[in-house]
């Protein structure tokens, strides 16, 4: 009797081990207690098809190019045409991207608050006008609908956005008076809900410049719509 009992217990344990093994193999994810992030280096270090550096564009401290681009009012706008500028909030944005749209009201508010302090918003649409929804007429319509008080420029021939290194919309480049890039990234930490924003990265960066300090952080990331080059 006892022997049988023991045997059954052993079998049961074996069964339990088998089951837990099955689960262990199906379980995805790193073992508990391990560092959760991407594996660091080693023989099988991750490869990247195109790194941020290969995408190119400005790094913090680079002097950004000026440009002369057509505004939705038909006039040409360049950075040097903005009077009494202490800096420039260059934003690559567009008509259709939901993330760009979610930030339109916040851009209007930023321009209202900071243009008089010498920091104007200059919006540039980097997308190919081959897509009618991103074309000049559609931009004029959008600017009117939303009541943009800042320039909304066409990146004619898509020559400016690759120099800056804009890869998504919206993508912000904050320049100082000398057009040196002081901050690259996102406007704040919550695209979907302005009222739930905890960190206003761009505003913090502008405030730092006003105090003669370096923005910290000076580089942030966000999900955005990919910029569409011509022919894509």
């Amino acid at each position: 009797m006892k022997k049988l009992n023991l045997l059954l217990t052993a079998l049961l344990l074996l069964g339990a081990v088998l089951v837990s093994n099955t689960y262990a193999q199906e379980r995805k994810g790193p073992p508990k207690g391990d560092r959760k992030g991407p594996p660091s280096g080693g023989a099988h270090s991750p490869e990247q098809t195109k790194t941020l550096e290969e995408i190119g564009g400005y790094k913090i401290g680079d002097v950004a190019t000026d440009f002369s681009l057509k505004n939705v009012d038909g006039k040409m706008v360049s950075l040097s045409s903005i009077k009494n500028a202490k800096g420039y909030i260059v934003v690559f944005t567009c008509n259709e991207c939901p993330f760009a749209k979610m930030y339109e009201d916040r851009l209007i508010a930023l321009h209202k608050a900071y243009a008089k302090k010498g920091y104007s918003v200059i919006a540039i649409n980097p997308n190919s006008p081959e897509n009618e929804a991103e074309g000049y007429a559609a931009m004029q319509k959008r600017a009117k609908e939303k009541g943009f008080t800042f320039p909304y420029l066409v990146d004619e021939g898509q020559k400016i956005y690759p120099q800056y290194g804009a890869v998504r919309t919206p993508h912000v480049f904050l320049l100082d008076k000398e057009r040196k890039v002081q901050y690259i990234g996102t406007i704040d930490d919550n695209a979907k809900s302005a009222k739930d924003v905890k960190v206003k990265f761009l505003e913090d960066a502008i405030n730092a410049l006003q105090k003669g300090e370096k923005p910290n952080p000076n580089f942030t990331k966000a999900i955005g719509c990919p910029v569409k080059p011509i022919g894509k």
Partner: protein
Amino acid sequence: MKIKLYLTVLLSTFNGLFYSPNISAQVAAEPVNQDIRVYNFDELEPLLYTNSSKTYIVNFWAMWCGPCIMEMPYFQEYVNQHPEVELLFVSLDFPKDIEKKLKPFLKKKGITAKVVLLDDADANHWIDEIDPNWSGALPFTIIFNNTNRTYHERSFESLEELEIEIHKTIN
């Protein structure tokens, strides 16, 4: 009496073992993506790693991303031909659009691979957690198993391009 209990437990244990493949087969036969789960980054992260030698493809996309939509059929086609490969589409669409937009979209496009939705506001944090080299632009793809791993911030222009990258990653 005791023996009976042991036997019952034992039987159900083995039942569980032997029947589990059938159960999962039944689940797989059900219509896919009826229930699209919404995850934050902490919930998603375990799905980006594996302990198995099986090949996984995780693709970050959204309905509003043109290049993403262009490449989706290549991923679906690849796993249709290679059912041993696990494909996961991580949608960055809005949770409110799941029923009226996302589900009809997937149906129309013939996407049968699993889709989950990532809804986590602090992208500046989790983009770097996934890959410090990722700018945040979509589409973005991770190909991996338990030893190899590659990141692709690009869209695949053909099934062949995708096959080449998978082959390069895994072999």
